[in-house]
Symmetry: C2
Subunit: 309 residues, 2 copies
């Protein structure tokens, strides 16, 4: 059964991919066996993270990139993790699917990931979903997240190339810096670049990027001007993405980056297993029995946690 599902996923069967991702999302029986079967078929896809503040136009840019990549003959997977995006959440996914023509339908797989309720574990699930898409033969996987929360930034950073999308209205460059976006961008996009303030933002961005550039760095971070709603700048953006990929490969940096991501993934796997093994019924009972004493300040949570260990 699992082997059959894995084979179908590897052949690119859409309903098998959807089923596999659901297994992972809901941690159904056998989901980790499935991931094990698929893992040797991964490593081909190139992961592009697209992040930025709410309302910057990330979804439009993602859609433009999908179309361009498909036109060039590539197969594309998309993972949308954006709590503020109207595209996120099953109910509204239809909006996005409706705009697909047949060619898109055959070569694109789009999946939204629920961010609410799934306390933690989101970044692990996002990684596992990208493995399924990777194994299914996608050439590029776009991961769209809103770059405000720490966990969302972490997800964008599991990509090979991270694109940070800004708009003149999204606040000054100092706010961008403070929001941690400055550190994670391999490419910056100024979207809605026909609006006022776009030149000033460009100058401020370039200055700050130049200032933070390490003296041993051999690459200047590009800033691309776009008007995504008119599909202006998509070619240039893709060009910069591919150039960044070539740069990473030629310098041996892609392997280093992926190694770091794998280490992070293994850390998360270990933690979740440690937690599951630790919280036996016995320990849960001890916690239940003592919680009132901690509430009453007879016992402190630090000593209690140590006594459990």
């Amino acid at each position: 059964m699992l082997k059959e599902l894995a084979e179908k996923i590897i052949k690119g069967n859409k309903s098998a991919i959807a089923k596999g991702i659901s297994m992972v999302e809901n941690e159904f029986n056998g989901y980790s066996e499935l991931l094990k079967l698929l893992y040797s078929h991964t490593g081909h896809a190139y992961l592009i993270g697209i992040t930025g503040p709410p309302g910057a136009g990330k979804s439009t840019i993602t859609n433009n990139l999908i179309r361009l990549l498909v036109k060039k003959g590539y197969k594309v997977g998309v993972i949308a993790v954006d709590p503020t995006s109207p595209f996120t959440g099953g109910a509204l996914l239809g909006d996005r699917i409706r705009m697909q023509e047949k060619e898109l339908d055959e070569n694109v797989f789009i999946r939204s990931m629920a961010t609410r309720g799934s306390l933690g574990g989101l970044s692990a699930k996002c990684k596992q979903t990208s493995e399924i898409l990777d194994a299914s033969g996608k050439d590029f996987i776009l991961i769209e997240t809103v770059g405000v929360g720490q966990s969302e930034l972490d997800i964008a950073q599991t990509a090979d190339t991270t694109v940070v999308v800004l708009v003149p209205e999204s606040g000054d460059a100092v706010q961008t810096m403070k929001a941690g976006l400055m550190e994670i961008g391999d490419i910056f996009v100024i979207n809605k670049s026909d609006r006022e303030g776009s030149d000033a933002l460009g100058v401020a961005l370039r200055t700050m990027l130049h200032l933070k550039m390490k003296s041993d760095s051999d690459r200047e971070t590009p800033v691309v001007k776009m008007i995504a709603l008119r599909d202006q700048g998509t070619d240039e953006l893709l060009d910069f993405i591919l150039r960044h990929r070539d740069y990473l490969i030629s310098k041996g940096k892609l392997e280093v980056k992926r190694k770091e991501h794998l280490i992070k993934q293994i850390n998360e796997l270990v933690t979740s297993r440690l937690e599951n093994n630790f919280w036996t019924d016995d320990r849960k009972n001890i916690l239940r029995k003592n919680i009132d004493r901690i509430v009453q300040r007879e016992l402190n949570p630090y000593d209690f946690a140590e006594s459990l260990l």
Copy 2:
């Protein structure tokens, strides 16, 4: 030494509080001993979480609340965890401090928490900081976070009362719902309520809050209109906060809520200890030796993690 520091904190000494928080933030030697010494002095402060999208005016509302609370004779602690706020980050904290008069200076302690670089652990550190402020005799602790990321929402939710701040421009009510803000708010604020769209947002909010209200619920979630920049509505907001506190206490719900928060805190403590204990030099070496085989797809991360355990 630690005992002395704890005693000074309990007396409300400002530099001792700052030192204690720095110990916790940087996990300096003895920080958990300090928390143990302080724990029996906590439980007095009432925790108010203030969250909402960037630009909604959370900092202004927080400042207004600080002034009002101090005027009423209360001691106030503030923890600002907002990656997009200009108040967050040491460099710009001065802006906030400069507006303080002597009375504020004596009764208020404000601390910004860095969110970048501290992968995870932020919610634990926020909780521990609030314990230090609590032990120092603060009556109210305001925790200001930007409500977009999952981890930031989690932090807001460690409060006794969670206030969600919206503005007419911050997107429609559906987006608010999707962003998970609808579920966590005990009180909603429509800030900048003189602007267009504020009535429509109010109607939509009330409708949705009413729809999601459980049939056994005995409390309607209030929606407060404010113009924070003109300090309009602060009294009403505080009134609703105090009424919510009375409601929680009279129904025995405050203890239940705090118990849940404690369980979450203990879970986090356990996880961080499990991780520290697990990653011995030996295991780190095994990981280092095998990571290339995983990159080469000879081994998958799932089997590898299991073999480590």
